[in-house]
């Protein structure tokens, strides 16, 4: 196994304004060396901005950034020991795959042989060797993605930054690339910071998830922490699929402001049900079935149940929560 890099990222009270609008509103965050950290949050919450601040493409309005124990708040992007993979891949269209990967090295005036070796090693690791002399436009989406990753790898960075790198790929390729990225993380042992709005990517790849909401950190924790103990309805609704059922607690008669229960923590039954509703829609996924109930006075309730269940549309169904799995906020 490759040596684990000693490259933590520490953000202290980061703020960022564009004109009069404050987009990042005071972020304190420590990302341990070698960690796979995922920023999630709804569109426009400032994930990309925060990542760009770490990369140095955007400067901070206030606050400091440490990478690998060194204050890099005012350092150039290329002096921060980071590499970035863009959502659009941002490959140089006029350069071959080889020159794309080696561009940074050639700017650093490394000897031609060294560049060649490094580029070929990276290409080998990413199965790009047969494509080295092609131009980006002659590559598929997944291959371009790999070239972009290759360009990051050859710089031998302490920290990798990814901004929604998989969002232009189809579902099957995305699943495959998730695994490849996790493998890469294990192999390189580098710190990785990954922006996505896809909670599946967050859950499956992260060591640590940072949930952002409107420029603030809502919660930080491991995927299972966030799943088991979301601190707010916002986090509760964001992590987990299908989404948690969230209701106005007063209307539901629960004596709290917001009441939440996950679809997988509801049981369909007609004996002493807590709620009764009519079946509006059924999604049979094979391994399990997702049932959409219309509960009078509450609204839609999503229940995840056994794959063999197949309730008739329009039938009346009851549901009960599993003990200890309910969430009450406020």
């Amino acid at each position: 196994m490759a040596p684990v890099s000693t490259s933590s990222v520490i953000l202290r009270n980061i703020r960022k304004s564009f004109g009069a609008v404050e987009v990042i509103k005071g972020i304190d965050l420590t990302i341990e060396a070698g960690e796979f950290c995922v920023f999630v949050g709804p569109s426009g919450c400032g994930k990309s901005t925060l990542l760009r601040i770490i990369s140095g493409l955007e400067d901070t309005t206030s606050g400091t950034i440490d990478i690998g124990g060194r204050d890099v708040t005012d350092a150039e992007p290329s002096a921060r020991g980071i590499a970035m993979v863009f959502q659009s891949y941002a490959l140089y269209p006029h350069l071959s795959v080889r020159d794309n990967i080696g561009f940074g090295l050639s700017l650093a005036k490394l000897p031609k042989d060294t560049i060649r070796q490094k580029v070929e090693a990276a290409a080998e690791a990413l199965q790009l060797t047969p494509l080295l002399d092609r131009k980006p436009k002659a590559l598929s989406g997944g291959q371009r993605q790999r070239v972009a990753i290759g360009r990051a790898i050859v710089r031998d960075p302490k920290v990798f930054l990814f901004d929604e790198p998989l969002s232009n790929l189809d579902a099957a390729l995305r699943a495959q690339m998730r695994i490849e990225l996790s493998d890469l993380h294990r192999k390189l042992g580098a710190t990785m910071i990954y922006v996505t709005h896809d909670q599946v990517e967050a859950m499956t790849m992260a060591d640590k998830i940072v949930v952002l909401n409107a420029g603030r950190i809502e919660q930080v924790g491991s995927p299972m922490d966030l799943y088991n103990a979301p601190v707010s309805p916002f986090v509760a609704g964001f992590i987990g699929s299908p989404k948690m059922n969230l209701y106005d607690g007063m209307a539901a008669g629960m004596g709290c402001k917001t009441y939440g229960i996950r679809p997988e923590h509801l049981r369909l039954t007609n004996e002493n049900p807590r709620w009764t509703g009519t079946v509006r829609h059924v999604e049979r996924l094979g391994a399990d079935t997702v049932v959409y109930l219309n509960v009078p006075g509450l609204g839609e309730m999503v229940v995840r149940t056994d794959g063999n269940a197949n309730p008739a549309i329009g039938a009346s169904m009851g549901a009960v929560p599993i003990d200890g799995r309910e969430f009450r906020y406020g």
């Binding site: 980071i82 659009s88 941002a90 490959l91 006029h94 940074g104 436009k137 360009r151």
Partner: protein, 279 residues
């Protein structure tokens, strides 16, 4: 409409277009050529007929040798002016366009204002000559180069600026992360991607500058400064005109731009229609 009728109609339209193009573009050329090979007497009749006597070679040699090989000097001068002006135009135009597009600042408005003035306000000859004289550039090839750059820069900047707008900013940022300095981003990432517009500009501007008649007439007097279009004066005077030689001269002067068009035809069209740079 059946497919076959449709194809036939398309072909007919094509033939008509071709015939029109021939009429408009080829006939004048043919006329020039026929005039150029006639004798002096026959040429003075201005008829569109087959020459009774072919004098191609004699006329050619006459034109080249006139006034101590003035035409060759003119070719040399025009080439120097064209190459110099177009090189400066491309480099400065792309640089200004890049900065304008990528770095919004308070100055952009001012620069835009200057560019629009450059496009719209007609240049005044006499004040320009004063300025040139003040700078010691009047009657010099450099002066002429700067004049051509000044006249072409506004258009060049606008064209580059809008094309650079189609190059994703991510590319600049990827280069920054890769450690590129601003000038490296420009010369190693942006400029190569501008090739389609650059080719178009080179062709359009070279032809315009090479063929320019009025500006050298005003700003570049002097026998040693003659440019190709001005050599046409050699055969036209109040008392005696040698139209066969005049037309031969026209023919010789037209050939270089024509060759440029023929060779770069494809790239020009590509440059005119080029849009976003795909990754």
């Amino acid at each position: 409409m059946t497919h076959r009728m449709y194809a036939a109609r398309q072909r007919n339209i094509g033939l008509v277009a071709l015939a029109l193009a021939t009429l408009i573009f080829i006939l004048p050329f043919l006329y020039i050529f026929l005039m150029a090979v006639k004798t002096k007497q026959e040429a003075s009749l201005f008829l569109f007929n087959w020459p009774a006597e072919w004098q191609f070679w004699t006329n050619l040699v006459d034109v080249v040798e006139t006034r101590n090989y003035m035409l060759l000097l003119a070719y040399f001068n025009s080439t120097v002016i064209t190459v110099g002006a177009v090189t400066l135009l491309v480099i400065f135009g792309a640089m200004v366009g890049y900065v304008l597009q990528r770095r919004p600042s308070g100055w952009n408005r001012v620069i835009y204002g200057c560019i629009l003035i450059g496009l719209m306000v007609p240049p005044a000859v006499v004040p320009t000559i004063w300025v040139l004289q003040g700078l010691g550039l009047f009657k010099t090839i450099y002066g002429m180069i700067f004049i051509q750059v000044a006249y072409g820069l506004a258009f060049t900047v606008l064209l580059y600026r809008s094309f650079i707008g189609t190059i994703p900013r991510d590319l600049d940022e990827a280069a920054i992360i890769d450690g590129a300095r601003p000038w490296q981003i420009f010369f190693r990432v942006i400029l190569p991607l501008l090739k389609p517009v650059t080719v178009t500009l080179i062709v359009v501007q070279s032809v315009a500058i090479f063929n320019d008649f009025t500006n050298p007439l005003y700003y570049l007097p002097g026998k040693e400064n003659v440019t190709v279009q001005l050599t046409l004066f050699n055969f036209q005077s109040q008392f005696q005109s040698q139209y066969n030689l005049l037309f031969m001269n026209i023919l010789l002067v037209t050939i270089p731009p024509l060759l440029v068009f023929v060779f770069f035809n494809r790239q020009i069209v590509a440059g005119m229609t080029a849009g976003a740079v795909k990754g």
